[in-house]
């Protein structure tokens, strides 16, 4: 295990930090939250094209930079700090990881270079219209084949950036089991409706497919194993983003506690506030350790990924929720207002905690994995 960042990785962090400082201040986050796209395509093209950040973890043969999850994690952590509104989790993490996991060379050659360049945004659609859990058994899209090829019919919801993605990777059922299909987001038979997301900085959509033309990606019926790996990677990437958000709200709380005066003293001099913030520091650093470990595992030791991912899923989401909640508390009444950014993080925290399995589900899985491994 190696936690030391290289000079190059530190430089990457600085670069992303500066870029987001410039392009994703709070005013911009709020402006984008009111737009129908939810992100700024010009900024995304700069992020992907100019800085090469969308293709960071995509292999060079498919137009990427050929780095791995440690580098991608750095980007996500920084993005999480500023609530960067962009198809990062959907296109770069979910869709690209799904394509790479399925290993369909021709599909990869067709789609990945454009994802890396930012000229195509993609997403993964896997959830049924009413989902309590991440459960691929409940998929409600069916694929059928006739002389002209595959078509998909059914409904899928909670699709990240589903209303804007150019390319939809849809999990659908065939006689052979679950498979992944590529569907053009603008094709006939694809109806997309934005959902009213709690977190307005990250969009989700319901997609109704009615005999939409589709291309099978990978082997028919073989999607399950690949998707398990994709959800683990997504959990880890999201963990890095959650750590970035949690660290940012803790900074906000600490800064405010130093300047807000009540009873003739800064509230940060009251011990209950000090101890609260000290505990949050432990929470954030622990979550960060879990995330960094898992990013390293994703890059270097994939066999350990399920355990490392569930460790992340079991603590990072809760860490962000706790920090975002207590940030409001430390801010008092002002933290409860629309004008203050605290609620943006609070909503992001609560939503992202539920995306790829709840913390309780991840803890159950973590326990199952460690109890099954022969360690004693």
């Amino acid at each position: 295990m190696n936690f030391a960042f290289t000079d190059e990785q530190n430089e990457l962090r600085r670069m992303v930090h500066d870029f987001l400082d410039e392009t994703s201040p709070e005013t911009e986050v709020r402006r984008l939250a009111e737009t129908s796209l939810g992100y700024d395509p010009d900024i995304w093209l700069r992020f992907a094209g100019e800085l090469g950040l969308a293709g960071l973890a995509i292999p060079e043969e498919y137009g990427g930079a050929g780095y791995g999850f440690v580098e991608l994690g750095i980007v996500l952590e920084e993005a999480g700090r500023t609530l960067f509104g962009a198809p990062l989790l959907s296109s770069v993490v979910l869709a690209a990881s799904t394509l790479l996991a399925l290993g369909d060379k021709s599909a990869n050659a067709d789609y990945l270079p454009a994802i890396a360049a930012g000229t195509t945004t993609a997403t993964l659609a896997f959830a049924p219209p009413s989902a309590r859990l991440v459960d691929t058994d409940a998929v409600r899209v069916d694929a059928t084949r006739d002389a002209r090829g595959w078509t998909l019919t059914g409904t899928t919801s909670y699709v990240l950036d589903g209303h804007t993605a150019d390319l939809l990777l849809v999990v659908a059922r065939t006689g052979a089991g679950l498979s992944v299909f590529a569907v053009d987001g603008a094709a006939p038979g694809v109806a997309r409706t934005p959902q009213q997301t709690v977190d307005q900085t990250r969009r989700q959509a319901t997609i109704v497919l009615d005999a939409a033309a589709a291309r099978l990606v990978g082997d028919e019926g073989e999607a399950c194993a690949a998707l398990a790996g994709v959800f683990d990677l997504a959990t880890v990437a999201l963990g890095a983003e959650q750590v970035g958000g949690a660290a940012r709200v803790l900074e906000q709380a600490v800064e405010y506690a130093k300047i807000r005066v009540q009873f003739g003293r800064p509230i940060g001099s009251f011990q209950s506030i000090k101890h609260k913030l000290a505990d949050l520091h432990l929470t954030v650093e622990s979550a960060r350790s879990a995330a960094y470990h898992a990013l390293w595992v994703a890059a270097e030791s994939p066999d350990e990924l399920p355990e490392a991912a569930s460790l992340v899923g079991g603590c990072c989401g809760d860490a962000f929720v706790t920090t975002a909640r207590e940030n409001i508390q430390v801010h008092g009444g002002i933290g409860f207002t629309w004008e203050h950014p605290a609620h943006l993080y609070f909503k992001r925290a609560h939503s992202s905690r539920l995306l790829f399995g709840t913390p309780a589900q991840h803890r159950q899985r973590l326990a199952r994995l460690v109890l099954a491994a022969s360690t004693d």
């Binding site: 003293r265 001099s269 011990q271 101890h275 000290a278 622990s286 960094y292 803890r363 159950q364 109890l371």
Partner: protein, 402 residues
């Protein structure tokens, strides 16, 4: 710990083998010489000594000292004991990372040198930070050879968290100082040859400015050690009555009146030593317990296991991050708090898993957990209480006003 850089003895370090070669050599040596975790010879928890009677405690403590001493000597003879220390201090003049490599390897095996933590971690931190080359050459070699153990004489009945209130007094006499006073809660005072002592050399009104730090020889007349019984019923720490004990000139560490400064170094290294402990992996034991009891499929038990595993792993990973140079504000207090929290959480988790069996101490499954359960409250106090660690994190780590 940046010890060799503070020592300014980088001389031999250019000739030292590269990290990869050294790591491979250390690995191979441990493979050949160290007991595996979980094997019958595993002594990674030997430093957690307690006994139900004074005799039993003394016997176990002697055993712990003996086992640790043999191991330390073996490390020393292999050139792997504190390799970054200069040769005149008993080290190898190796680069700083060599210590990290050994410590990281050591944490994977059924071994521990925590019994000698005061000598191996706190005394060197203090001596490299504030002592002279002469003092280092005098005190460190017997420590690194495993010949001498040290304890810490800080707390007093009126000065626990608030060490600025220490009243034990050192007065100048011919050739050194004479010390008198009362210390309390001193761990492992019995077998120790030396103590790191904080004593008052100035007036009471001077508070922290009137304190100095000394190396006090424990095996001399005028030192009366009385074991104290702790909540488990066992013995672990002591009261130490000091009446006219002598400290030669060389025993003053740092300047006269610099005790507070030295103390800060000492407490920082203590926090790091406790939080960075290579203590028994209790979640591994918890997992073993759940499996033997056949409770793997119980959802409630799984939730408990996961919580303990998460706390233990994140503590480990945080330690590794700190070792890898990540900036973690108030790092020592962070790991110390995570550690005491982990000890509490895992022992309480085990009690829930044990159910009724946890009500009796003579069940072989419950006995080790009850020992941990009754030790955990002490971990929240010793080495600076949880509350004091939170104050430190808030004020020094996060910069909140006092």
């Amino acid at each position: 710990m940046s010890i060799s850089s503070a020592a300014g003895s980088e001389a031999g370090s250019e000739d030292f083998e590269d990290r990869a070669t050294f790591t491979a050599r250390v690995r191979a040596w441990f493979e050949a010489n160290a007991p595996r975790r979980g094997s019958a010879e595993d002594f990674s928890a030997v430093h957690v000594v307690s006994g139900q009677t004074v005799e039993e405690f003394n016997e176990r403590e002697e055993h712990a000292v003996e086992v640790t001493r043999n191991w330390q000597r073996k490390l020393y003879e292999a050139g792997l004991a504190s390799p970054s220390w200069p040769t005149e201090c008993g080290g190898q003049g190796a680069p700083e990372w060599a210590d990290e490599v050994v410590l990281a390897e050591q944490s994977r095996w059924g071994v521990s040198t925590k019994m000698f933590a005061v000598g191996l971690e706190m005394a060197p931190a203090v001596l490299f930070g504030h002592g002279s080359a002469e003092q280092r050459a005098h005190y460190l070699p017997p420590i690194v050879r495993g010949e001498q153990t040290w304890c810490q004489l800080l707390s007093e009945p009126g000065a626990g968290s608030d060490l600025a209130n220490v009243q034990t007094r050192a007065t100048p006499v011919e050739g050194g100082w004479s010390v008198s006073g009362q210390k309390v809660w001193t761990s492992h005072a019995g077998g120790a040859e030396y103590a790191l002592l904080i004593a008052r050399t100035g007036t009471r009104e001077e508070g922290r400015k009137g304190l100095s730090c000394f190396a006090l020889r424990m095996t001399q007349p005028g030192i009366d050690i009385r074991p104290l019984r702790q909540m488990s019923g066992g013995y672990h720490f002591n009261e130490v009555f000091i009446d006219g004990a002598f400290i030669p000139e060389i025993g003053l560490i740092g300047g006269l009146g610099d005790g507070w400064l030295v103390l800060r170094t000492m407490l920082a290294s203590e926090r790091a030593a406790i939080g960075g402990g290579t203590g028994a992996r209790s979640s591994t034991q918890l997992i073993g317990l759940v499996r033997r009891l056949g409770l793997q499929d119980d959802e409630g038990v799984r939730e408990i296991v996961a919580a303990a595993v998460i706390r233990e792993r994140t503590l480990d990973f945080t330690r590794f991050r700190i070792a890898a140079g990540h900036r973690v504000a108030a790092a020592g207090s962070v790991t110390k708090l995570l550690y005491s929290e982990h000890a509490r959480l895992s022992s309480e988790a085990a009690m829930t898993v044990l159910g009724l069996a946890g009500t009796v101490a003579d069940d072989p499954e419950s006995a080790p957990w009850i020992e941990r359960l009754l030790f955990a409250p002490g971990l929240r106090l010793g080495g600076g209480t949880d509350e004091i660690q939170r104050n430190t994190i808030a004020e020094r780590g996060l910069g909140l006003p006092r």
